[in-house]
Amino acid sequence: MAININHIRNDFPILKTTVNGQPLIYLDNAATTQKPQTVIDAVTQYYTTYNSNIHRGTHHLSNLATEAHENARKTVQTYVNAEHDHEIIFTRGTTEAINLVAFAFGEAFVNPGDEVIVTEMEHHSNFVPWQMMCERRQARFRVVPFNADGVLKLDVFENLLNDKTRIVAFNHVSNSLGTVNPARQIIQMAHEAGAAVLVDAAQSVQHVDHDVRALDADFYAFSGHKIYGPTGIGVLYGKQSWLDAMPPYQGGGEMIELVTIDKTTYNKLPFKFEAGTPNIVGPIGLAAAIDYLNTMDFNDIVAHEDDVLEYGRQRLLEVDGLKLYGNGKHHTSIMAFNIDGIHHYDLGTLLDTKGVAVRTGHHCTQPIMTALGVEGTVRASLGLYNTRADIDALVTGIQKVITLLGR
């Protein structure tokens, strides 16, 4: 049963807008996704009918808001198949989730001389927090390289792992290459070496396998805005045993059990890690986005996206002088490329005049650019609403730019 792409496109109001007089062709989904009407409605409904602070209220609106917030936690729990709802911690986004773990795991478990492993294909958000933590805890920062196809060198990883390795952090899908990393294998290898694992799922939770227990991830982080939900909301999943053993990250309201001048004791999970008034509408909108995805069979979404992706890769490779990055066997949703003699910024800017929205630059992954030997790339990235027609528009746009630049 395939998904009904016309229905889906209809559900996203922004797809009907025009840019520079042309219909919008939105191919910047790895940066952020558009929102279905149901998500926008959930946000509006919250503000219009039951906006209130949560958890401690004694009044009706507060009960409604608290219930919606905690139900949202359960919706996320089910989507990632976590064992407990209190293993779901709401953050601002992937970046904050990773910073939380880097700080609190670091304080609890990382000592001078210990080691932390990331990969060369991480987003800065899964790179810099570990660098910072390693500096603070005097630990060694180690990096797994990737090969010319954009595939991690697992043999190097194997050699880097040792009994000083405390934690391994890697992205399930690379935002600059589209590579799907062999998450289960990496996690198993890390666990055998006695290390914990954080999975950066910012680019995978909406496109590939997202079952934290099947993966056996210790920590798992993603952003609501990249899975058709609102801005300013993200999720950190953590196994209860780890979360219980970590100190809190931020201090303030909600994360407290008892405060006296001499001593403060902390609340239980998940509240221990949710200091201050949260982005109340965030989880509500995120749950609406997940509910929206749940109206379809996830396999159908994957099949559709993969079809458009393979069509896109093939059509792009027909363009003269175009080089695609990330050519391993497993990839998803992301096409990154350059064209000989054309600057990525010029290509992106000129595509915009055709209504085609792509991203250009280093995509917050400077180590990848260094490894590829380029300053930046053009990146077209898919959401579930993209079609082969969008690819055609992209390729036509590229051809026009090539002509304009007289190359």
Binding site: I54, H55, R56, G57, T58, H59, H60, S62, N63, T66, E67
Partner: protein, 141 residues
């Protein structure tokens, strides 16, 4: 003595005669006030169950694999809720207390209507009772 589920059904029926929430609270408060007073000797630290906003004393006893409960609270509404839990659970076989789902809270709408169960300590009370019943049923107590 009625079973846990018979009592739950009775509570749901009683509440159904009180459509207005202020009547329901008045009824709850009355139930609390009719409870046997908690002997001073039971008002001790280890019987304390803390909600965010109110304090509950919950005295538990296990006799012949049955659970016996007494309670009090500084909040009259919470005391009324405690009274309902006593009606449902006290004197029942520990195994039933452990295993039977509490359905009356949602059937009466009390769970939705009352401010978050964390705030009033209701959840904490139920947790304590269930844990105690488990130990009692297992013969640990």
């Amino acid at each position: 003595m009625p079973t846990i589920n018979e009592t739950q059904a009775q509570i749901v029926e009683d509440f159904s005669f009180l459509p207005q929430w202020d009547e329901r609270y008045a009824y709850l408060i009355e139930l609390g006030q009719k409870m046997d007073p908690l002997p001073e000797a039971y008002r001790i630290e280890e019987n304390l169950v803390r909600g965010c906003q109110s304090t509950v004393w919950l005295h538990r006893e296990c006799r012949d694999s049955q659970v016996f409960l007494q309670a009090d609270s500084d909040s009259l509404i919470v005391k009324g809720l405690a009274a309902l839990l006593m009606q449902v659970f006290s004197g029942q076989p520990a195994e039933d207390v452990e295993k039977t789902d509490l359905t009356f809270l949602s059937a009466t709408g009390l769970n939705k209507h009352l401010s978050s169960q964390r705030a009033n300590g209701l959840l904490a009370m139920i947790d304590e009772i269930k844990t105690f019943a488990k130990g009692c049923a297992a013969g640990d107590l």
